[in-house]
Symmetry: C2
């Protein structure tokens, strides 16, 4: 049986999740896809620290060493920030590797460029994990767009802020206490700025804008309001009125063709589809011309939800190439 | 440019929807897929009655005439009931046609057989439209199952009963009045038995059971309770308590490996994900091992939602075959 060699760039929560799932599902993936997947390189910043038992011999600090691996065909990328991730993936694509990324900051800014390079090199880019964790919004939207036009996308795209808002309401905690708990559970980074300011949701929204409308608004025109100023008293007052705060990102194409986007807290009542979406859940609603409004809800963060959709990206890429000898 | 010939079997609401979408989207589909799709035959029971202007020359009452069409490659089927639909599709598959069906009654019972025949003939079966109208539950579950195991599926799978329960609550109508309105809007059939008894939801649930667990429970073991006995007084009492009736279908694989399914009315409170799912909307929640719980909500009925997912099935089949010359 053919073996496909893969590398993992970045070996934090998500990178380790990919490694675990590929091991746990080795036999099942082999049976379903007809090929064996083997992780042969793991790129880290400190190769002396073994994070997962049995991976020491796979670790390297050099992207050149990763790409020099003979027969490498798939690169999973789970690094934070635009660089060096983009440069690495650019090189990987030039080496005819399919790339699968969870990196929203990189993909929001350089996604179109990366996809063009991949197309020129005959490989695929999977980026399901870059938006809404385990919620397969990218695949669903791509599929819908084969026939439907999307006019508006609205959603909760950050699990950390939704968790904080949920705890402020359900437990009566202050913003600071809820944030601390989110950090201790590993939802929020040590520097929570990107989450609570709305910047993380904004990047994901730009990825959805590119997909839905083939363009993004000027980033500087987009109003991005965080949740850091919402007080426990405001949350309690809203709860008394039967309302809930949600941190909502939305982008729409207006009648004049202009793309308009916004990220801000929103008060919703119990008739609103986002009302029951609590904790780290994400939700995305798309307004379309034929289907109408379609919504997907699921865990927006976490090792396994995010890693599993990256492995699904891999399986989808393999499935696309398997068993078809006909060109049309 | 290559032209692909297609036939439509059954020219009621959904069949006509397919025809309209294929016309409206002709150029876009050509550009996206690199092939032109042309409807060359429409199978009806009375070919003398032209339902859509300009289609008279396409209509025939003979399946043999449809399948004799030279170069026919795709068959859209939007007939009700198991027969003659299954026999027609069996013949179509033997003629090496891809088949795309909206027929839940046929597919619940004969889906596995049809898929095996299709596989043997090197063609695909699309059945997204057979469950939950415009909600792409089949594709989403197929994708998830590449990596995840599904343990439980729960949802509102019938738009008519959800519409009736919504109107009984929101307007204070009786069951009979709400049913009449559903019929006048074209949601419910002249004989509403299949909808209100839960039989329609049951068939859809069996399709989801096959997909999630590769098997169905014995049909006679499944408790199927309709909504016809719910009174306006019961609905009013529930509303007073902050509860809502939903008609819920669920199937799960228990620890002992047994598949257990049920269709019945359920009272849900405002924390339940199905609480805000009103009118003809359908919703499906899947419990999975890696992702957790994933839900999709959207219009469960109607000409365009249902027809558009059938055209998406077609686009997906074409996409699978386009531009790949490599076998693995």
């Amino acid at each position: 049986m053919a073996t496909i060699k893969a590398a993992i760039l970045g070996f934090g929560t998500v990178g380790q999740g990919i490694y675990h799932i590929l091991n746990e599902k080795r036999q099942e993936l082999r049976e379903k896809l007809g090929v064996e997947l083997e992780v042969t390189k793991i790129l880290v910043t400190d190769a002396s620290r073994e994070r997962v038992p049995g991976t020491h011999h796979l670790m390297t600090e050099s992207i050149d060493e990763v790409l020099a691996e003979k027969g490498l065909q798939v690169v999973f990328e789970a690094i934070v920030n635009e660089e060096p991730a983009f440069s690495y993936l650019k090189q990987a694509v030039a080496h005819k590797c399919h790339v699968i990324t969870a990196n929203k900051v990189m993909f929001a800014k350089r996604g179109a460029e990366l996809e063009a390079l991949a197309k020129a090199n005959g490989v695929f880019v999977g980026y399901e994990a870059s938006v809404a964790g385990g919620v397969p919004i990218i695949k669903t939207m791509k599929n819908i767009l084969l026939v439907n036009d999307v006019s508006r996308v609205q959603g909760i795209l950050n699990g950390t802020t939704n968790y904080i808002l949920t705890k402020m309401r359900a437990e009566g905690w202050s913003f600071d206490d809820a944030l601390k708990e989110a950090q201790s559970l590993g939802y929020a980074e040590a520097d929570p700025f990107n989450d609570v300011s709305g910047q993380d949701a904004f990047k994901k929204l730009m990825i959805l804008s590119s997909l839905a409308f083939d363009e993004q608004p000027n980033w500087s025109d987009v109003e991005v309001i965080g949740i850091e100023k919402i007080t426990a008293a405001q949350v309690a007052e809203a709860t008394e009125k039967g309302l809930r705060y949600r941190h909502v990102a939305e982008v729409e194409k207006r009648a004049n063709g202009e793309i308009h986007a916004k990220v801000s807290p929103l008060l919703v009542d119990k008739e609103h589809p986002l009302y029951p979406v609590d904790d780290v859940f994400n939700a995305v609603a798309m307004e379309t011309n034929y289907i109408g409004t379609l919504s997907i809800t699921g865990p927006g963060a976490g090792m396994y939800p995010t890693a599993s959709v990256m492995v699904e990206d891999y399986a989808e890429i393999i499935g696309k190439r398997a068993g078809f000898t006909v060109t049309i």
